[in-house]
Amino acid sequence: MESRWRSWLREPLVHFLLVGALLFLVLGRSGTGHPEGYSIRVDDDQIARIAANWERTWQRPPTAEELDRLIDGFVREEIYFREALRLGLDEDDIVIRRRLRSKMEFLARASVESEAPDDSVLQQWLDDHPEIYAVDAVMTFDQIYLGEDGEEADIRAALENGTDPQELSATTRLPFSMAGASRSAVERQFGEAFAGAIDAELIGEWQGPVQSGFGAHLVRLRAYDAGQTPTLADVRQRVENDWRDATAAQREEEAFALLRSAYSVEIEGRD
């Protein structure tokens, strides 16, 4: 039942109707009649909204006298509003145009803010974006620091003669070994280029020179586990954050695309 409702929500026609209804709410101001008409009806719902708005600010209901004044003010505003529209005052006012645009964008996004996506929606999102959530590769390696210039021939010869590799490394505070280190930890220590240059297929032999911000290194990879995709339970909050953010942006784009599709736009000098 719920999933059918959700698939409905993805239908362009439903979007169109929703956007139409929202447009009507913004421009039509239900309860007062067509903005360009000459009849104004302030119904009970509208009066309740006026009173509630007062109460939100002042933390008490308006008195009868205050309410009368508020209603008078509302009618006055409504008349001015319609006359201003009639005069086209909204069209050359950049402030009003910007505000209306941002209201439209907000309306398109707002539904996502309160929506509680269920696991199947989030699992789908995770399946569609595995790269975002992939757990870092984990590696164990030794490195011989060759210094800034990176002369490797003598070092390689010494390695073949069985010299302890740790003694061959130039003096450095860089660790000779990193065990069970995530790729991001390796990047943090040696830089992104270094982590990216390690050949994950070469296990057990000295590879390189591999360049880092510090200079050149010979690297011996001892173990390498490629990153796995985590389960939804591991990353649920992240997935929900990302889904919400992306879905709001997508709804806004879709709502606009729908509106845009009803317009024919011609820009002089461009095809």
Partner: protein
Amino acid sequence: MMKSRFHKGGGMLALSAMLLSACQSGERAPTPEELAMSPDGGTTACPSQVLWGDTHLHTSNSVDAVFNGVRLTAEDALRFARGDEVRSTTGLDAQLSRPLDFLVVSDHAEVIGIGRRIADGDPALISDPTVRRWHEMMNESYAQSTRAARELIVGYAQDTLPEILADPEIARETITSTWAEHVETVERYNDPGTFTSFIGYEYTSMPTGNNLHRVVMYRDGLDVFGETLPFPANQSQDPEDLWAYLAAYEERTGGRAMAIPHNANLSNGLMFAMEDFEGNALTRDYAERRQRWEPIVEVTQFKGDGEAHPSLSPDDEFADFGNTGWDTANLDASIPKEPGMFEGEYARAALQRGLLLESLLGVNPFQFGMIGATDSHTALATGDEDNYFGKFVSDEPNATRAAHSIGASIRGRLGWQYLAGGYAGVWAGANSRAAIFDAMARREVYATTGPRMTVRLFAGWDLEDADLSADPCTLYDRAVPMGGNLSGTGDAPRLLVTAMMDPEGANLDRVQIVKGWLDSDGELQEQVYDIAWGDADTRSVDDDGRVAPVGNTVDLEAATYENSIGDPELSAVWTDPDFDPAERAFYYVRVIEIPTPRWPVYDRLRFGAEIAEGTELVSQERAYSSPVWYSPEA
């Protein structure tokens, strides 16, 4: 959902009363976060890794940020800091070269969220003609919006704001709803082990435009923090009242909080004054509370660097970093500097004053560690010269920002004088609120002006050269790390210092020890020692022990530099040659990079930006460790 957690009926007074009458809470069990795994999969007590973050960032919930045009939210800020690409307010795609590990979104507490309501045209607010005019300016253009921001900041500094902005009912409703939404967002993005987001805000005290601002940050999650509201400076400009508020918070909830002063350089001598806010002499009680609530200070950020000033340290050739334009007047440039103010503004002088005060009061009120931050008002925590997104939206990347007065900068401060920002390096055992906050509380942190160099400092009596290659975790048993205290009677302590370049950045020129002490005549002294330097085979040391300049490889046309000078890492075990066991002293490390291009150089390459005469184009970026303090054994 969150809103129901807040008392609808109570105002600030009711809340304060509630805090004051709260009873002591008992011990609580560690939260899962406190037991969180480190990023590499193991829990560890040793602070084995340096984590990078920004404790000072503004979004559209800050009234000055939104007036200056920003429309990005805390959520955008958190996504950006953890490494995502985010569309900036002016429509540029923005991303950090590397993610940060933590972020404190620290919007101004003073009627937090009200600027967005003015931008949105809240009827209750735009009934005031001035606010209405600002609303229209905010929606007209960035230039107009910036003008409105300037009026607002001057109005706040000079206490001439429209009265409606102080209306208690409007303020209460705005604050509670904005804050509830904010805390909920921060909570959703806290991801222990990967990325930590802290609940925090900025307390914006600035009597007559003198900057006494503090960032307030909490160690706690929503389960402990609950319905707590921020403490705004319009309740009290006296930081001691903020401390009382934080004390009440801790007592009521069992949580933890701290305040982080910043931009002492714009306080006209007030931040580290020798007297309290009311003008009374400092007391031991004051010193104890200050040390308790303010264990660290933000010493470098967009609005200048506050480590040292050439007029206070004439023998220090590196003391002039990031001072230009910021050493002429207070925050809103309403009161010019006068002789005697710098001593209460710059960190080194404040640390010296702390020694003097300790000798008088028995407790050092200015025993603080040092961090860097951005103070960005674009919601984008950028700290790199080649990725500077500006202090305000009006100076997001464009061709004119370097040469002109920007954002709400006032009277004579030019775009290029803004620094590209700093970050905090934190030695922590895990990426979690608890681990990072606790490292800050014990001052095991350091400041950088942007680059992520790795800096360690240990001090003790039996450290040897061989310890340079030891696992640092083994040193804690016989030495104190940065931020620690030593006391003794005889030999000089030995300082073990290691510094490694940012692996994505520039080589290091030199490593220095900055010593401050109170001599036997009661005079405060300072000395800078070069203890390790790059290209050591070719660089000479003069008779005063100063190492020759490292050179300069910057190509101003191409906006590049070469790591052909300097060294990738420098280290030393050093003993103070002038040590006197009877004199109180502090020692901190300053690491200096080789020269690199400043952000206007990248602007000229990318946008053909106009560069005004006098613009500083090259700088030597740096890191400042928290000090280690020595005192004679009682």
